[in-house]
């Protein structure tokens, strides 16, 4: 009850600030609040329901293949469709948290059966990928359940990855760079996106976590496989996109901090560019930094924590980067470290004065 009174106070506050033009549907708002009170879960619950769903689908696939049930492609395709549809319809109809694990499991099992069935039926892999992307998109439009949408977003991303790897492996860095730009766009334009329509508004939270995870997987893949391609022109294009994205982010950060002094602005941009250019050799590290900064910008703690873990991992992976000797790497790192320390000592003082 206290919670709802609190919400009433918030609504009144907005009403006072917005004036007479502010129209709202109080019944709708409180219905949604009441629903959320019953169905809000902690991060731990979300993670175990996803993990549980995956483990269950893994066990089911094991069962399917050991019993030889996969021999009938048509059967697999039909059951795949049935499973996916059941998951979507069930989520649309019940919307309750407790069916999450079950729907995650049958949703993933459905995709696996459909894929295997279609491939066994000799359908071209590209078409399979496209079909799955379309189905996942439809799922996103039909139900905006947090966990199912999160898996749909990852499914879309995974299939685009496979499409690229199968057809034009070398443009993978560009895809990852565009993913970085997309993430920054989504994070920095929350008000715009949730105002477009109710579907996007409900998808906003799963979209955030989905793009973070998809980007990290992408960064991991290019970090692992493109070490020898560093100075390929496509990598340069990708890195340029990442640099522009980061500068856009830096600009937003400057704005939110009210830094008006032109000299400080130029200094910040100059330093960011230098740091970015020196980190050209590992876009994964820059990508992790982008996740950290944009998550902090919108006060998104999960993304922030994931970004820090990714950052530590990618820096440790830099050790195995074959194009440079350990000595070069060591010099780059020490130089960067000293630059960061200098920025700390020089810029935090003038920034403070303007506060």
């Amino acid at each position: 009850m206290e919670q709802l009174n609190n919400k009433k106070a918030i609504l009144n506050l907005i009403k006072t600030n917005e004036g007479v033009d502010f129209e709202y549907n109080e019944k709708g708002i409180f219905e949604e609040y009441n629903f959320n009170i019953e169905n809000t879960s902690s991060l731990a619950i979300k993670i175990i329901s996803i993990l549980g769903g995956f483990l269950a689908s893994l066990a089911f696939c094991g069962f399917l293949f050991l019993t030889g049930l996969y021999d009938s492609p048509i059967g697999l395709i039909i059951f795949g469709f049935v499973f996916i549809t059941t998951a979507i319809v069930l989520n649309k109809a019940y919307k309750q948290l407790i069916i999450d694990t079950f729907s995650v499991a049958i949703y993933s099992i459905g995709y696996i059966m459909l894929c295997v069935g279609l491939l066994e039926h000799d359908v071209d892999l590209n078409w399979v990928n496209l079909l799955i992307i379309i189905i996942a998109f439809i799922a996103l439009i039909v139900t905006q359940n947090y966990i199912l949408s999160f898996i749909s977003i990852l499914t879309v991303n995974a299939n685009i990855f496979i499409l690229i790897v199968e057809n034009r492996y070398d443009i993978l860095p560009i895809y990852v760079a565009l993913n970085t730009a997309l993430l920054v766009y989504i994070f920095l334009n929350e008000a715009k996106i949730i105002k477009i329509n109710n579907i996007l508004s409900r998808l906003y939270n799963p979209l955030k976590i989905g793009t973070v995870i998809a980007l990290i997987i992408g960064l991991y893949l290019i970090d692992d496989n493109f070490k020898t391609l560093t100075f390929h022109y496509l990598t340069w294009i990708a890195n340029t996109i990442i640099i522009i994205t980061t500068l856009y982010l830096v600009n937003a950060i400057i704005k939110i901090n009210n830094i008006v002094n032109l000299k400080s602005k130029i200094l910040i941009f100059f330093l960011s560019t230098i740091i970015l250019i020196t980190t050209f050799f590992s876009s994964a590290i820059v990508g992790a930094l982008v996740i950290i900064l944009s998550s902090f910008y919108i006060n998104y703690k999960t993304g922030f924590a994931i970004g820090i873990i990714a950052m530590i991992y990618f820096i440790s992976q830099y050790y195995y980067f074959m194009d440079q000797t350990l000595l070069t790497k060591s010099i780059i790192l020490i130089t960067l470290g000293i630059v960061f320390l200098l920025i700390y000592f020089i810029t935090t003082i003038p920034l403070n004065e303007k506060a």
Binding site: Q3, N6, K7, I10, L13, I14, N17, E23, Y24, G28, I29, E32, Y33, I37, N39, S41, S42, A44, I45, I47, I48, S49, L51, L55, A56, S57, F60, G62, F63, I98, I99, T101, F102, A105, E190, A191, K192, I194, K195, N198, Y204, N257, N258, Y297, I298, I315, L326, K329, I332, L333, I334, G337, V339, F340, L341, I343, Y344, T348, N352, A355
Partner: protein
Amino acid sequence: MTKISREDIHIIARHSNLSEQSINNILLKDTYNDKASWYKFVKLLFISLGVGFTTIGVIFFFAYNWNDLNKFFKIGIIEALIISVTLASLFIKTNRSFKSILLTSASILVGVLYAVFGQIYQTGADAYDLFLVWTLSIILWTLISNFPPLWLIFITLINTTFILYTEQVAHDWSELFVLNALFLFNTLFIAGFLLLKNKNDSISIPNWFTSTLTLFSLLFSTTAFIIGLFEDFNSQYLLTILTIIIVYGLGIVYGLKSKNSFYLSVTAFSLIIMGTSYLIKLFDSSEMLFIICLFIIGSITLVIKTLIKLQKKWNN
């Protein structure tokens, strides 16, 4: 004044004609980090990246095969670095977190020193005694700084030393014994930290720290349970099961008392994994996988249902 949360603004935006501009203003004012938190964060980011990159740079520098470099010079550089970083943390007038980060860097450099020592004198860089002296050397710094990342490094070092010791010296210790010891040891650490936190309000121990330790600890207990399950029954396994029952019981009680769903959900998840492996052992057939699939879905749904019920109770 109540802050307007992200959930509030999303729900209200869906059911009203609130403009994009107003939404943005509310988000900037109430939900997003303000200038003061940015200032704190940017400072911390620059220090961490600065000290972190420099320290890793030094590690890479010594990992490079320096055949021409004289050994006295090599060890001399690191020792000089350790001394200057430690002195800096002692004398530079700055905030506490910067000092702690410097001490953490010094603690890592001590490891580099022993690794280089091991490289020069051919003891092997992974000899357990090097890790032992490394651990012993940084005890005081860990206690003084009381900095969670340094504590995490310290505890990881103790674990590593112990594991290396069992691999290099104590060959006759069974795998179960080692896992039991690791489980108990890490659990005692967690219990200690949680007790301190509850007894003394002035000590702040971040949740991520105790959660990370808990995950490690549960990893050991779950592995121990599974390994023992597929071996002949022995007294060590009895100990494993007994400690699991006691520690998990205490964990659940703690989770319920502190209204923390993390401990409840990870304990439950570990138990579900154990249950699954027990089922695999019970029937070694393909149909079993189907039952396992149902078991996982059923048990996790049950856990989630219970947790939601608890959360509702806690909220009221």
